[in-house]
Amino acid sequence: MKKKPTLGIYGFTGCAGCQLAVLDCEDILVDLFNYVDIKVFYEAMSNNEDVANVDIALVEGSINTNKQLNELKEIREKAGVLVAFGSCANFGGIQAMALGDGKWEQRFTRVYGDAKFTVAIPREAQPIHKFVKVDAFIPGCPPSTPQMLRALTQLLHGNQPTYTNSPVCLECKFRENECLLNDGKLCLGPLTMGGCTAPCPSHNTPCIGCWGIIDEANHTSELKLLKEKGFKTEDIIQRFRIFGGSKIVEKVQKLLEVE
């Protein structure tokens, strides 16, 4: 019999939703455990190896402490293919929404006072690619089941996962929704990587961008459009930032320059 591919699922700072999304694949969960040799998956099993030598490592969460950083480096060393799994790992997630504003210490003090850390030195949230080479990424907050299974299957069979380089609007139109932008709502669909099947606009609620910013996002034009619709510049930029993480930092700079 062919050797089973080995898999490690690691979680850093985040909501653990990406790991949970794996457990949410109820239909194939048993198959998954049978087909793959899962070495690490803290959320689901107790016989874990600390950091294991694996063919594929799925890394969830952003890096928020130096302890995590060291562990990430070890995971990198021991992984064949390292995958940034979900929005936090990919661009920092919501905890990175204020990245680059220089006020992290201030926020930290607000929540934790002046106490000192000793076991782990906290740091501002960063996506994993800031520290190690990432071979593939699966976007999503959390990744949708079909998208995740597709990517995982591709990885397990030695393929690069196909990544959706089209905005949410594509799937929004597949689902025959009226465009919320035209309805005066602050929808981030055009700026956001697709693959989620547009659940939010399909429920009349605007996309908030949780899948992360798509390569070609035209923030300048969307900002202008939303201003015409009566939104305030600060509000729009704030919204861009909530799920923009590390990807929006430079763009915001440019947007503000134009303003």
Binding site: G11, F12, T13, C15, A16, G17, C18, L20, A21, D24, E26, D27, L29, V30, N34, Y42, E43, A44, M45, S46, N47, N48, D50, S62, I63, N64, T65, K67, Q68, G93, I94, Q95, M97, Q106, R107, F108, R110, V111, Y112, G113, A115, K116, F117, T118, V119, A120, P122, R123, C141, P142, P199, C200, S202, H203, T205, I208, D235, Q238, R239, I242
Partner: protein
Amino acid sequence: MMKKIVVNHLARVEGDGGIYVEIDGDKIKKLEVRIFEGPRLIEALAIGKLPEEVISFTPRICAICTVSHKNASIRAIERALKTNEDEKTYYARELMHMGEMIESHSLHIFALALPDYLGYPNVIAMVDKYADVITKALNLKKYSNKIMQILNGKFIHGENATAGGFGKFPERSELLEIKKEAEESLTFMCAATDIVGGLELPDHLEEDTVFVCCNPADKKYGFWGEELIFSDGTVLPSTKYKETLIERVVPHSFAKRSLYKGKPFSVGALARLNCIGDRLKGEAAKYFKKYKNERWLKNPLYNNLAQAIEIIYCLERIPKLVDILLKLPDPKFEKATRKKGRGVGTVEAPRGLLVHDYSFENGYVTDANIITPTAYNLDDIEKYMANSALSLNKAGKNEGEIAFELEKIARAYDPCISCATHLVKVVKK
């Protein structure tokens, strides 16, 4: 002889944590549940945001309690900005909450805790021997995910529910499907409750404690209310959470702990059943009567059984909710009438009392406080762990065996580590 027990990674819990214990003879020198999750500073990030933004991102605190966070933040914001809650909206939110309760409890019972008691490393390893139970349990979990998907848009982190109502109410056909499956799942869940009820639970850790949960209106069972109810009989308005559940800072630790009258307390399914379980009706009441005993008040390991009974409660409640929803017309979206004010939203997350508390000025958040159940439970978790470690040590158990039992306690509480935004426990070496 000095024993050191270190569990580097707490497994089968949500988030990244560990346990560190030093036992010296009959004394615990140090016992810490450590949380390695980095600080996310969600409350600080909430400042300056608009209500709908807070409702979108605070549920990202935790994937498994996402709906509870959503409902808590919505309740807080609607109270702060004086939005009326329409009847249909109210019940749809309740239905959505049930989805999360079942999902979280079933995941916890079947996939995370049961392997402990039956001696397996994970749920999948149990498949050979317990194929039927596992298949049905996975179906139940899938079903509960479907409820959340239909009501909230996605299983995890949906955006459909927000302050003022829903983007889209479920279709009739979807509701009927939800109802049908609830009725079908009930038999399985009753049988499964007997499996959980039949497990032998060790008594070496037992000690009395206080339980607290939300007090639903009209003496009903339920998952939210404007009051807190304690197992000692006290009832208080939930806005008084701060004065009652006093937060304190532990030296060398960033875990803000809370004490009730100077003592640790527990929240969660067991707390709810201990405080308001006598309000249950139907099958849930039958099972509650069948299994409730004195030890429930002092042994957290009964939490799993309490969760099982709560799933029965939900499965019985869902068809009724569906019937109500089918009768009500889709309401218009309710607009907030104020831009300023403070509101506290208390709900029962699967793991217990969850508080969201926001203040607004000009429509933007000026202050935010979120306290999660795991933060409330932490002192009690450590208390029971200390009891357990001491008695097991006395009984001559080795480090590995003690560690396993301690992990079991942690898992009984189903701690949700990413949830515990306050919880960055730091240990000096």
